[in-house]
């Protein structure tokens, strides 16, 4: 099977400081790391490959320095690494980025086939969670987002657990498919020494804009309609009330249900009301 992992090199936000005057990230001198969610996507691909056989290719778009993250991926066990790097890609928003990545994946699919694409659920420097789904839509393959467990993968099909706001969902999809993953999916391995050696010498393939089919209007600044007008942390939730239920759960439940009725959160159906009358 062929697993392709999309990974982004991001500033290590645990070491980023905020400029107190401008409230922007001070990126200067901050070390770069593989986006942590992507690292878990890579780990899952490696584990699936180790079980099912095949190969893992890592794909990244970024400046030439992003080879550092690709080498790191090779040290963890990736078989091949491709960097999409071109001045024409600069300034791409999530729409353009997913376009460029999808076009590169299309080339890989035509040349060697792809069974599964894995992405992190989002990047820690943007938090949009748009590129993974964007790629799936463009490749017209099923997407399984917020994956916390892969049950199995076999020829043509995969079953996973997805984390939803109110629980879990067990879902199946036909292959090829795209996963975006959560951190609790797995534990990242420690690189073996032979893989460290291989990575130190490894030269990732670098594809410029001329290496695969791209329409200039859809990439870079031109292909990026997004403009950021303001960045802010959403206000925390306010209000609310806690009903302590440790001592007497019964009366706590009665009190809760009473309040739900009072505030019309639960409404009594007119017919039911009529019936009671």
């Amino acid at each position: 099977m062929h697993f392709v992992v999309c990974l982004k090199q991001v500033p290590d936000t645990s070491e980023v400081r905020i400029d107190p005057k401008t409230n922007t990230l001070m990126r200067e001198g901050v070390p770069s790391i593989i986006n942590p969610y992507d690292a878990h996507a890579l780990e899952e691909a490696l584990a699936l490959r180790d079980k099912a056989g095949g190969k893992v290719t890592v794909l990244s778009m970024g400046p030439p320095q992003a080879v550092d993250s690709l080498r790191k991926a090779v040290s963890l066990g990736a078989d091949e690494a491709i960097l999409l790097s071109d001045r024409a890609f600069a300034g791409s928003d999530t729409l353009a980025t997913s376009y460029i990545l999808a076009q590169a994946l299309e080339k890989i699919r035509q040349e060697q086939g792809i069974d599964l694409v894995l992405c992190g659920k989002q990047a820690i420097d943007g938090d949009t969670a748009q590129v993974g789904p964007g790629i799936a839509r463009r490749l017209d393959i099923p997407q399984l987002t917020y994956v916390i467990k892969v049950d199995w993968i076999k020829e043509g099909e995969i079953q996973v657990h997805r984390k939803l706001e109110d629980g879990r969902e067990v879902a199946r999809a036909k292959l090829p498919a795209l996963l975006t993953v959560e951190k609790e999916l797995n534990e990242i391995r420690y690189a073996t020494f032979p893989n460290m050696l291989r990575a130190a010498k490894y030269e990732p393939l670098v594809w410029g804009a001329d290496k695969f089919h791209l329409s200039p209007a859809e990439m870079g600044l031109k292909g990026s309609p997004t403009s950021v007008s303001r960045i802010f942390a959403p206000p925390g939730r306010t209000g609310g009330e806690q009903i302590m239920a440790i001592d007497d759960p019964g009366s706590a439940a009665i009190s809760l249900v009473g309040k739900l009725f009072q505030q019309n959160i639960i409404m009594v159906h007119p017919i039911a009301r009529g019936g009671r009358d």
């Binding site: 420690y190 690189a191 073996t192 020494f193 032979p194 460290m196 050696l197 130190a200 010498k201």
Partner: protein
């Protein structure tokens, strides 16, 4: 299963000693790997911050054209503190601001990283984030190292241990014995950021130039050691280091010593308004010549801090490290080319070092550690005498100068008897002269 790769030279540790060894080995045609435990070369490396030009040029001619250096040092100053007072002496040479320079201040995280990139460009393979746990033996012969990673055995003909002051592998190999508290100094330092112009104003420097200030006596609360302030581009390295045995004896805490130093009137104004950006601590091997471990065995050489190659009197270390690394790299290449990895063959390394300033200087000061340990007055009484004498000398109080000189001499002999003074000077001259 991949074929097991074999190296000619394995270097443990990517500091100046290890990188110098590896670069020299590669230049002599050896297939060389450096294994470093830090996230990148320099991540865990600490020194006060003075890099000497000439010895570094021996490794990379005109390195100063491109290396990330802070400031060329044009002034070296000493201050003997006593109470709130200070007796200072120094030397300034504006010509040191230009090539060929004498020394630069550096930040090791930047410099070592740059040096490692140079080494990689020359063909040295550097593996980071990997701990070497032991040597690998076949019978009695060393055949490589064992790392902490899976499938982590690395085969090599010669192993050069540049692992720093703790020398854990050298200890396991029986070359190094346990370090005693009298053999190491504990040093702590802060990087305090300040605008360039402030630094230049406070140290009376032309734009871009640098100065060093060594503080003795009261600066270390009379313990054997020194404090220092070095000027970086937009920060100061402010630190203090004292022998561990002294710290233990006095129950002193290095952080308290540093805070005490920073609050001293002589220091306070120099760092005023600065913001502490980094804090670091390290051990410095200051045992001197007599504490140098066995530096070689069959297939193994020990270089830099791991070999106790630090000249505490002149605060030199990285230059000794690089020169020892280069010597070891050459000897390794020679041994491999002549297919003789015996102990006798490695001994050539020590013989070479004996011909350089590295072992000559350490030999010259071989008794200094003992001298200062047995004679704490050099760090306590004498700074007081110096300060007291200067105070009398500069105080204008209508006392005739002849009387003043008598008063000074009386003060001096009051603090230290004449016979002791003569004995002290003789001891000092015999050890240092």
């Amino acid at each position: 299963m991949r074929a097991v790769e074999e190296f000619d030279v394995i270097v443990v540790g990517a500091g100046p000693a290890g990188l110098a060894a590896a670069m020299t080995a590669v230049r002599n045609g050896m297939k060389t790997i450096v294994i470093e435990r830090g996230e990148f070369p320099g991540a865990k490396n600490v020194m006060g911050g003075v890099l000497y030009t000439q010895p570094t040029s021996r490794l990379i001619p005109e390195f100063y054209q491109e290396a990330p250096l802070e400031r060329p040092v044009v002034e070296q100053r000493y201050a003997f503190l006593e109470g709130d007072n200070a007796f200072t002496a120094g030397y300034r040479a504006p010509a040191w601001a230009d090539p060929p320079y004498n020394a630069h201040t550096v930040l090791r995280a930047k410099f070592d990283r740059w040096l490692a990139k140079k080494a990689e460009a020359e063909g040295v393979l550097i593996i980071t984030e990997t701990v070497v746990e032991d040597l690998l033996y076949k019978g009695d012969a060393v055949v490589g190292v064992r790392t902490g990673r899976a499938e982590g055995d690395v085969r090599g003909k010669v192993v050069i241990l540049a692992e720093g002051v703790n020398a854990l592998i050298a200890k396991k190999a029986g070359l190094h014995t346990q370090l005693g508290p009298e053999h190491v100094a504990v040093a702590v330092k802060e990087i305090i950021s300040l605008p360039r112009e402030k630094i230049e104003d406070r140290f009376c420097l032309e734009e871009g130039q640098g100065a060093t200030l060594e503080l003795l006596g009261g600066a270390t609360a009379g313990m054997i050691g020194t404090a220092f302030i070095y000027t970086n581009q937009d920060s100061l390295s402010v630190g203090i280091g004292c022998l561990l045995s002294e710290m233990v004896k006095r129950q002193a805490n290095p952080n308290d010593l540093l805070e005490r130093l920073k609050a001293h009137p002589f220091v306070r104004k120099l760092i005023q308004g600065g913001e502490t950006k980094e804090y670091m601590g390290h051990l410095i091997p200051e045992g001197g010549y007599k504490a140098i471990p066995k530096m070689y065995r069959q297939g193994v050489m020990v270089v830099g801090d791991a070999g106790m190659l630090v000249n505490g009197i002149h605060r030199e270390g990285s230059n000794l490290a690089m020169v020892s690394g280069m010597a070891a790299g050459e000897v390794a290449a020679g041994a491999i080319n002549s297919h003789d990895l015996s102990e006798q063959s490695m001994k050539l390394y020590q013989d070479r070092l004996k011909e350089t300033f590295v072992l000559k200087d350490l030999y010259k000061y071989r008794n200094s550690a003992h001298l200062f340990e047995e004679n704490p007055q050099f760090f306590t009484t004498y700074p007081e005498i110096l300060s007291g004498a200067a105070r009398e000398f500069f105080t204008v109080d209508s006392m005739p100068k002849a009387d003043k000189q008598k008063k000074i001499w009386k003060m001096v002999t009051g603090k230290r008897a004449k016979g002791d003074l003569i004995r002290d000077m003789w001891k000092l001259w015999r050890t240092m002269g």
